[in-house]
């Protein structure tokens, strides 16, 4: 569902339309489940987070003044529900990754240099391979340090703006940008390793 459809459903929900209730629940339950599954890594927890978030959403529906803000508003509630569920490394500080760790290896070649990266100009086109790549993306997101995971989920997977993401996560916008960049670079690196393995086999 596109964001404008989601806003329209929310308008109808606020007007008391019972059909909008079912569509709203169906739509956001899937989204919250996906977010919290990638955040917490546990199916049971993700189901619970989805239910608790929706319960909170309906109990506090009076606070949602602008239907346009529904997605960031719901995700703010989901983020808090997720925090209470996380099991792993609660007290362990989440490590920053340095940019150097994410830069590709370079080899001197004549006057210039060559990067040790996969051939990204010919990504697999058939459906099974695309699906496999998407699974790799999700795996890579789940493996990110906790610091980066919510940022890439909200910005790229959910398509929220830098400002909205900053508000949800209580960060400033510069921190969102920095973490998003590192998250993308880390995901890129994992996909790159995967593509290179495949391209070596094919070659």
């Amino acid at each position: 569902m596109e964001r404008d459809q989601e806003i329209e459903i929310t308008r109808r929900l606020l007007a008391g339309d019972p059909e909008a209730f079912d569509r709203f629940v169906e739509h956001f339950r899937g989204k919250i489940f996906n977010y919290s599954w990638l955040m917490c890594g546990q199916r049971d927890d993700a189901e619970e987070v989805a239910q608790e978030t929706l319960m909170n959403v309906f109990e506090n529906l009076g606070q949602l003044r602008e239907p346009d803000r529904v997605r960031p508003w719901v995700f703010r509630i989901a983020k808090n529900a997720c925090l209470t569920k996380r099991r792993r490394s609660v007290f362990a500080p989440s490590k920053e990754i340095s940019l150097d760790q994410l830069m590709p290896v370079r080899h001197q070649e004549g006057d210039g240099f060559r990067l040790e990266i996969a051939d990204w100009t010919h990504l697999p086109e058939d459906e099974a391979m695309r699906a496999e790549l998407k699974r790799e993306v999700q795996r890579a997101i789940r493996n990110l340090p906790e610091l980066y995971r919510p940022v890439i989920l909200l910005r790229d997977v959910e398509g929220l703006s830098t400002q909205e993401t900053a508000q949800i996560l209580d960060l400033n916008e510069d921190a969102v940008k920095t973490r998003l960049h590192r998250a993308r670079l880390a995901v890129r690196k994992e996909l790159d390793a995967r593509l290179r393995r495949e391209q070596t086999v094919e070659a």
């Binding site: 489940f33 960049h181 993308r184």
Partner: protein, 90 residues
């Protein structure tokens, strides 16, 4: 000697997401494009990052929740109806 400016590459590397999101200040953007003109490795890397972002954006959930049990749906509907009633009376 086009590719010896490794310091520049590093600077460019830090700004690539903002460049892709079109949030880079105009001046930095011009500098970056100037660099890209004669740095094929940076172009190649930028392309791989662009594809990564597009895969993330296009990443439909692989795992889906179990169907919502009726008692859970009923609890949500109760909360919803109370909220609507409160809106109508408030």
């Amino acid at each position: 000697m086009a590719h010896e400016h490794t310091g520049d590459c590093r600077q460019i590397f830090a700004a690539l997401s903002e460049y892709l999101d079109m949030t880079l200040p105009v001046e930095s953007c011009a500098d970056l494009e100037e660099h890209l003109k004669d740095c094929p490795p940076c172009i190649e890397f930028l392309n791989s990052l662009r594809q990564t972002v597009s895969l993330c954006k296009d990443c439909d959930p692989i795992e889906k929740p179990e169907p919502l049990p009726e008692p859970s749906r009923d609890r949500l509907r109760d909360a919803y109806q109370k909220a609507i009633a409160a809106r109508a009376s408030g």
